[in-house]
Structures are given as structure tokens and as C-alpha cells.
């Protein structure tokens, strides 16, 4: 048998297996129960419009806040880690190890409840503000590593050219190195953004009033109140509605930026 023929047969078999698996799931599933538990139009209608106007809005808002804060702090940490002054490096390394090592949930809990009691520190915005601050701290630790790699990925000749034109070290970093590092860093930062969208669901532990519920908390309360799981399905759809266009958008952006290289 020729190699191409054999490959075609193998692919055909794989398609058959896939079709059989799908058929098995569809046949085995109890569609009436699924519809009753997960796809109830009445329950769905009861979630609207708040699941969008409040919950989805909060998820996006919390993500943007913790991403922006994390980005700024992450740049500072990356620069500290690349500093020629050793104590700055140690501080940055300790910070990054600490906040990457701890579960985000624990950090949120600590910021929201332990800090105010132990140190009398009160973050503006109450416990949800403290929870957001925790997310910023955690995001910064993850982003710092990507940003550091991005900065180091910019060729040394770029710094030398800028310095030889008389630019200061700070100006060189700001105008020449960081913009180029940013392009290198777009894929890992997108990844971090998507992870943060999902991590905002951990904010439930910081307590929630109706006004600051995000998608997961809102849907969980919806499940409890209606004794039906339809809100979970809605939550899942909302997350995908946010994350999929976002990753597509960044892919386009990346291709655009790649052109000026």
C-alpha cells in the first residue's frame, strides 16, 4: 500500500471514532433532565438583565483594574529584577516567589480579612477593594517574569544606539526598550488577562453585595435561589463571550504589529 493511501485510511478511521464518541454521548445523555436542570427559559429570564448589567460588567471592570494595576507593578518589579543594585533584585525575587507560590484565594482572603485585623490597614473600597488589591499583587508577580524576559529579548544594540545619541538610561528604557519588549510580551500578557478574567471569580470570598457580584458569584447565588443550574450555563456562555473575541482580537493585533518589524 502507498504511504498516502495508508495515511488517508488512518484519518478516515479517526473520523469514525470521533463520530461514534459524539453519538454515544448524545444517546447516553438524558435530554429531558438536562433541559430541566440546565436550560430552563424561565430561570434564565429571571437572571436578566442583571447578569449582564451588573455581573458581566463587574467581571470586566475587576479584570481591567487588576490587569492595569498588575501591569504597572509588574514593570516596576521587572526593572527591579534587572537592577544592578542587588537588594532590589532580592526584593523582587522574594516578592515574585511569594505571590506566585501562594494560592490567589489565600492572598485575597488575607488582604480582605487578616490585614485589617492584624495591622489595622484598611484598603479603600472595603473588602472587595482589598480583594482587588490582592489580585493586582498576584497578577504583578506573574507579569513581572514575562516583562523581564521581554526586556531582555530586546537586542543590546538598541540600548547602545539610544545611549550613543545621548538618551539617559530612563529615557532609553521608556522610549526604546519597553515599546519593543511590549511586543514580545503581548502573547504571555494576553494569557495573563484571560487567567485574570477567571480569577475574578475568586473575589466571592471577599464578600459581595448585589452591586459588586461578578459572573460566578452572581450565577452561584442564582443557582441557590432558583434551585436550578441554568444560571451556570449562562455564566459559562458569558465567560466565553468575553474571552474568545479577546484572544481573537489579540491575534489580529499581533499580526498587525508583526508587519512593522
Amino acid at each position: 500500500m502507498r504511504r498516502t493511501t495508508r495515511r488517508r485510511i488512518r484519518r478516515g478511521v479517526l473520523y469514525l471514532v470521533f463520530a461514534a464518541a459524539v453519538a454515544a454521548v448524545v444517546l447516553a445523555a438524558d435530554w429531558d433532565r438536562i433541559r430541566a436542570n440546565f436550560l430552563q427559559p424561565d430561570v434564565a429570564r429571571a437572571q436578566l438583565p442583571e447578569i449582564i448589567t451588573i455581573a458581566a460588567k463587574n467581571t470586566i471592570l475587576f479584570t481591567v483594574i487588576s490587569f492595569s494595576g498588575g501591569l504597572v507593578l509588574g514593570i516596576v518589579l521587572a526593572l527591579m529584577k534587572l537592577s544592578t543594585v542587588a537588594p532590589y533584585r532580592w526584593l523582587a525575587i522574594a516578592y515574585i516567589e511569594l505571590f506566585r507560590g501562594l494560592p490567589a484565594l489565600l492572598t485575597i482572603f488575607a488582604m480582605a480579612y487578616v490585614l485589617p485585623i492584624a495591622f489595622q490597614v484598611h484598603v479603600p473600597g472595603g473588602t472587595i477593594g482589598a480583594g482587588l488589591l490582592a489580585l493586582i499583587l498576584v497578577a504583578a508577580a506573574y507579569m513581572a517574569e514575562s516583562i523581564r524576559a521581554g526586556i531582555q529579548g530586546v537586542p543590546k544594540g538598541q540600548t547602545e544606539a539610544a545611549r550613543s545619541l545621548g538618551m539617559s538610561a530612563g529615557r532609553t528604557m521608556l522610549s526604546i526598550v519597553l515599546p519593543q519588549a511590549f511586543r514580545i510580551v503581548i502573547p504571555p500578557l494576553t494569557n495573563e488577562f484571560v487567567l485574570l478574567i477567571k480569577d475574578t471569580s475568586l473575589l466571592f470570598i471577599a464578600g459581595s453585595t448585589l452591586q459588586n457580584k461578578e459572573i460566578t458569584t452572581f450565577a452561584r447565588d442564582g443557582v441557590i435561589n432558583s434551585n436550578n443550574s441554568t444560571p451556570l450555563v449562562m455564566a459559562a456562555m458569558l465567560y466565553l463571550l468575553i474571552t474568545i473575541p479577546l484572544t481573537r482580537l489579540v491575534a489580529v493585533l499581533e499580526r498587525r504589529l508583526g508587519r512593522s518589524r
Binding site: P155, G157, Q158, E160, A161, A162, R163, S164, L165, G166, M167, S168, R171, S175, I176, P179, Q180, R183, S260, R261
Partner: protein, 247 residues
């Protein structure tokens, strides 16, 4: 040469080590204003390191460097202001890939010299015309040939109105057919009276344009003189050996 008689570049007893490796082992050198000094020598002899010490991209281990009479190794000196007066052109061009040609030429004018946008653009256009690339103002570096990139790099350095220019093998990374355009630009620049230090393997260019030729080997200047003399009648055996290999 101005009557003041201050040398453009004066290097005395320059030493530079990288760890245990002593790369410059006592270099003395004077470049007068308006002079073109060509530096030749085998790979690893310290040519780039010498050039990079002159604008302190490398910190010398010991010795003295004066630029227009000012001791640039003085810890009190603002090295950024010294560098703004010394243009540098690299083998690998090092254009800023995220900026257009025009922005490559204006960014340091604006950020370092504090020129207005209008003035900076005017100076940039003038210098682009000088290197024959007026039509590339809006292009990104990636869309230019190597020869065009190097000419933009020269125009970028010139836009700072430097008093002198350092060239580190400006044509070594170019395809042979692109070398000529870059050398033409450098020749015009030399004729206009620019003080230049040029590390190069282009012996024809050095012979035609150079006022002084320096042969370096193993971290010291072995021989220096008028290019035609050094090239056709080298006094030292090491110079002869090197030239017989490259000519």
C-alpha cells in the same frame, strides 16, 4: 583646524580589561578637528573597544580620554551630554524597529536636545536628503535594504549635529553591491569637514579619504601614519603580515 588648537579626541595610556582579558594595553591617539582617522587590525585586536571607550559605551580601566579638551572620564561629567556631541554608527545599524525613519531621526533631537517637533522634522528631512533617502521618511526600518538602513543610521546620528562621528565597520554587514552607497555618504561627510574615526576593512576608502591610518594588534597601536604610506610601505612586520592577508 581652529586656532584654539584643541584636539577633537585625545586618548592617552588607555587600558581596558574584561575580567582577566586585557583588550586595550596602553593606547595613545590624537584626532585633530576635521581629520578622518581609519582604524584597521585583525579581529579581536580591540578596535571596537577603543571606539566604544571614546563615547564611554565601555568604561575604560585606566587612562585618559579628552573630547574637545574635556576629560570625559571625570565622574562629575554628564556623559549623556558628551555622547550627544559624538555620533556613532554601528555595524548592525541598530535602527529602532518600532519607529518610522522620521521618528528614528527626531526622537533624540526632541528628547535630548529639546528641539521642537517642527525643528526636529526639518533637521531630519535635511539629513535624509543628504543620504539620498528623502522618499523613505514614513517607512519602517524593516522595509529598507541594509544599505538604506545604514544610511538612515548615519542621518540619525547627523541629526544631533555632532562635532564628530565614530563608525564601527559600517559596511561589514552589507551585501557588496550596497557598500558603495554608504561609502559615498561617508566620503561626502568627510569632505564637508566632519571629524571621523572609522574602523573599516575598506582599504580603498581609507586610502582616498583618510588623513591618518592606525593599525592595531593585540590591544596596542602598532603603526600609524598617512594611509598611503601604511598601506604601500608598512614599517612593521605585523602590519605587513596583516595587509598581505586582507589586500
Amino acid at each position: 583646524m581652529p586656532l584654539t588648537g584643541v584636539a577633537a579626541i585625545e586618548v592617552a595610556g588607555l587600558h581596558k580589561s574584561f575580567g582577566d582579558l586585557e583588550v586595550l594595553r596602553g593606547v595613545d591617539l590624537t584626532v585633530e578637528p576635521g581629520q578622518v582617522v581609519c582604524v584597521i587590525g585583525p579581529s579581536g585586536s580591540g578596535k571596537s573597544t577603543l571606539l566604544r571607550c571614546v563615547n564611554r559605551l565601555e568604561e575604560p580601566t585606566s587612562g585618559e580620554i579628552r573630547v574637545e579638551g574635556i576629560d570625559i572620564l571625570d565622574p562629575e561629567i554628564d556623559v549623556d551630554r558628551v555622547r550627544a556631541r559624538i555620533g556613532m554608527v554601528f555595524q548592525q545599524f541598530n535602527l529602532f524597529p518600532h519607529l518610522t525613519v522620521l521618528s528614528n531621526l527626531t526622537i533624540a533631537q526632541r528628547r535630548v536636545l529639546g528641539r521642537s517637533k517642527r525643528d526636529a522634522v526639518e533637521v531630519a528631512r535635511h539629513n535624509l536628503a543628504r543620504v539620498g533617502l528623502m522618499d523613505k521618511v514614513a517607512a519602517y526600518p524593516a522595509h529598507l535594504s541594509g544599505g538604506q538602513q545604514q544610511r538612515v543610521a548615519i542621518a540619525r546620528a547627523l541629526s544631533m549635529d555632532p562635532d564628530m562621528m565614530l563608525f564601527d565597520e559600517p559596511t561589514s554587514a552589507l551585501d557588496p553591491e550596497l557598500v558603495g552607497d554608504v561609502l559615498d555618504v561617508m566620503r561626502d561627510l568627510a569632505r564637508s569637514g566632519m571629524t571621523m574615526m572609522v574602523v573599516t576593512h575598506e582599504m580603498g576608502f581609507a586610502r582616498e579619504v583618510g588623513d591618518q591610518m592606525i593599525f592595531m594588534d593585540d590591544g596596542v597601536i602598532v603603526e600609524s601614519g598617512r594611509p598611503r604610506d601604511v598601506l604601500s610601505d608598512p614599517r612593521h612586520a605585523r602590519t605587513r603580515a596583516f595587509l598581505s592577508k586582507v589586500l
